[in-house]
Amino acid sequence: MKKLLSCLVVFAALCTGVTAATAKEWKDIRIGYEGAYPPFSQIGADGKPSGFDIDIVQALCAQMKANCTLVQVNWDGLIPALQAQKIDAIVASMAITAERKQQVDFTQKYYNSPRRLVAAKSSPIKDLTPETLKGKRIGVQRGTLGDKYATAYWLPLGVQVVKYATQDDVYLDLRAGRIDAALQDAAQAYTAFLNTPKGANFKFVGDPIVGTTPEQKTLLGEGYGIPVRKGDDDLRQQFNQAIDAIRANGTYQQINKKYFDFDIY
């Protein structure tokens, strides 16, 4: 009996010890960002990053009282860097999709914005019907939701999907007339392009794309979240709590107002 009791005590102690070990509190977090996606993350001439994503991550880290290091990684190197443990989380406007969930775990969303097509004001593209789009060249950033949507649903219609390494390259070629239209996030397109001098001759075409079939909706995902490695559930929960907190105490709204005159959540 005594032996059984002592075993139980040791077992209980071990249990608490084990859970304490796994439910750790992250104090030093390396966060990957892109730096080529204004106004969410961009790098100035001085080499310092700035933008909505950057401000949000700094607010989250302050909320979590954690020491966060920002690491710049090219867009298509973000998830590999996460998996290779070079970074612990990604704050780079990465959309939560079923496909990505196979590689990483996501926190809840921290903002949401649909895809939308951008074309010249004088462009013959007036809507998103297959007849109009057929044969046109549509630019996307490689590996983004716009890329996946266009490749899955427009490529079979005879649309040429042209892939670029960054969103700014897409705009460069759109302005040069090399592509007929560009598919990307609506908020980004509006703030970084249409609402600036370089996007003066361009406009949105068609409604925001949110998916008409369940299949499309699954592909398009449920907003943008913060990927962490599969299994790092404690970090994920930490971020979730922090996101709730900054939305509750008004920090989120402050940052939102700084960049957008509409609610981006």
């Binding site: 892939k163 040069a176 007339g177 090399r178």
Partner: protein, 242 residues
């Protein structure tokens, strides 16, 4: 799905990429070589007026990375208003530059032309003076001397160096995906962006480039044996009594 499933599904992209890579390598090589012959002759001309423009051209093309040259032709030229207007108005020649394919062809052709010019010029310059004297002693006209003595003699020095350039250009075309072209490397990058399988994506592309390179090396070695056989050192011992 497993990587293997993904490969079996997407391998046609690699084949399309391979085809594009072949085009992006052979067309610049042929055009570049054709252009290099007159340019090399100008390059070794004693008159500064003739050789300096060519020298400046090769200086710039050989002193800067091909990637930078490609970016200038594609993104750089596209920035200018006059170019964009030309595209809108449909002016035929400039319209070609709107297409990344022709931009890449132009950049690669200029680059390989410059290198080939220098290789050929070097080979011509290294002609032993005795051969030139002998040609003159025989009373050959300029054209005949070039045709029968100088160019064949230069070929012996040119072909090994040029075969190297061919392979380097083939490898150089792998940057084409930096301007949206889906060549062999571009297909690998797309595959990787979709499935996050780096080894499958890039090892397959690497293996295909390797096969191409080996094929070129074999062809060059056969050609060298056949056409430059009479330049090779003696293979058999001297005959007795000589």
């Amino acid at each position: 799905m497993t990587t293997l499933d993904a490969l079996l599904l997407d391998y046609p992209a690699y084949l399309h990429g391979l085809w594009l890579t072949l085009q992006l390598a052979t067309i610049p090589l042929v055009v570049g070589l054709a252009g290099a012959i007159p340019l090399a002759v100008l390059r070794i001309a004693p008159s500064r007026l003739l050789s300096l423009p060519v020298a400046t051209f090769t200086y710039f093309m050989r002193g800067t990375p091909m990637l930078a040259q490609l970016m200038i032709v594609y993104y750089g030229l596209g920035q200018f208003e006059w170019m964009q207007r030309a595209w809108q108005n449909g002016s035929p020649l400039l319209l070609l530059l709107r297409d990344p394919y022709y931009c890449a062809l132009l950049a690669f052709t200029l680059n390989t032309c410059a290198y080939t010019t220098e290789i050929l010029a070097g080979a011509l310059r290294a002609t032993p003076y005795g051969e030139v004297e002998a040609a003159q002693a025989f009373g050959m006209s300029r054209v005949t001397a070039w045709r029968r003595i100088l160019l064949p003699s230069a070929m012996r020095r040119f072909i090994p160096a040029y075969s190297n350039e061919v392979i380097l250009l083939l490898h150089g075309t792998s940057i084409a995906s930096a301007v949206t072209l889906v060549d062999l490397t571009g297909a690998a990058r797309d595959f990787y962006a979709n499935y996050y399988a780096p080894f499958a994506a890039f090892l397959l592309a690497g293996a295909m480039y390797f096969c191409l390179t080996m094929a070129i090396a074999v062809v060059v070695r056969r050609a060298e044996k056949k056409y430059l056989a009479y330049f090779q050192p003696r293979q058999t011992p001297h005959a007795k009594g000589r």
